[in-house]
Symmetry: C2
Subunit: 180 residues, 2 copies
């Protein structure tokens, strides 16, 4: 399973590609950052993100794209930009028919460190260890993107089972609804 993780942001989008299956050693295929100039207008920044993500999809042909789920607890202005950057990443993937999964920051931290409250350094250290790298990827956004991809590979089997269960339950519920 080859997964592109995207840590969305208007100024820096972390991107990382990890290959492997749960329970086996994982391999990093690439890591980097898609940057856009803070002084450019919003439309052009979104176009730059689109071009950057497209280039990563072209080069690595991932089977899944894992994007950080955006929350609004943080700074309001930042969150809007993050939501907009994440929309572009999801759009690029969905347009190619690549399934998109969203994982929350605490799911990602819990997956790679065992704690949903781990700090950046701890996440970086575990990503380095799990992918057998010489040093933590810099900047932190790049390490976070790899952590997202790892999280997706490890959580995917459980998520798929859950989705199947939900689909089955909905089907039953709607058939009951029709009978009632």
């Amino acid at each position: 399973m080859r997964v592109l993780g995207v840590d969305p942001g208007l100024t820096r989008c972390g991107v990382g590609v990890v290959e492997g299956v749960a329970g086996r050693p994982l391999t990093m295929r690439g890591v980097g950052v898609v940057r856009t100039p803070p002084d450019a207008d919003l439309g052009h920044r979104l176009v730059a993100i689109e071009q950057g993500i497209e280039a990563w999809l072209d080069e690595h042909q991932p089977e899944f794209v894992a994007v950080e789920r955006v929350f609004s607890q943080h700074n309001v202005r930042t969150v809007m930009g993050t939501a907009q950057a994440s929309a572009v990443a999801m759009l690029c993937a969905a347009r190619r028919g690549i399934p998109v999964a969203l994982h929350t920051p605490s799911e990602v931290k819990a997956a790679v460190t065992g704690s949903g409250r781990a700090d950046k350094a701890q996440v970086g250290a575990m990503v380095t260890r799990l992918l057998r790298l010489d040093a933590p990827p810099k900047p932190a956004d790049a390490a976070d993107a790899l952590a997202l991809a790892i999280c997706h590979i490890w959580r995917a089997p459980a998520q798929n089972r859950l989705q199947q269960a939900v689909a089955l339950h909905s089907a039953k519920a709607s058939s009951k609804g029709r009978l009632a």
Copy 2:
């Protein structure tokens, strides 16, 4: 000046095309709604919005796209969806080199009704009058999109002067910075 107004939303994106110049009667060229199914996954909804906006750009070839500026005072979940839908609209325009302008809801209301606190009915009534329509466009998102386009046509001259002044000021400030 032909302007496509976009009232962004994941479930319903209002779209409306208005042509004219400030101080002269305006003409509506088209109005409608781009809809996406609430039960589809987010990636596919964003692709559907992209296809819808592209079709409007193809048909009407606007010179400007005016998008409602997203705020986060409202319901958090809705705001994320709105930010993501607006990102797709901005991306579609910027990719074609069409300038994108953002206007806040109160700027739009003030432009068409004289009050930044006007309600939906008042905005609908003024859009109907200003564009000489037989009845207010339905749903409200469609009327709001037309109001955005009208707002842009009326505010554009002032905005352009402001942007020029800001550009001049920045140039002076940075030349001072280099001298200091």
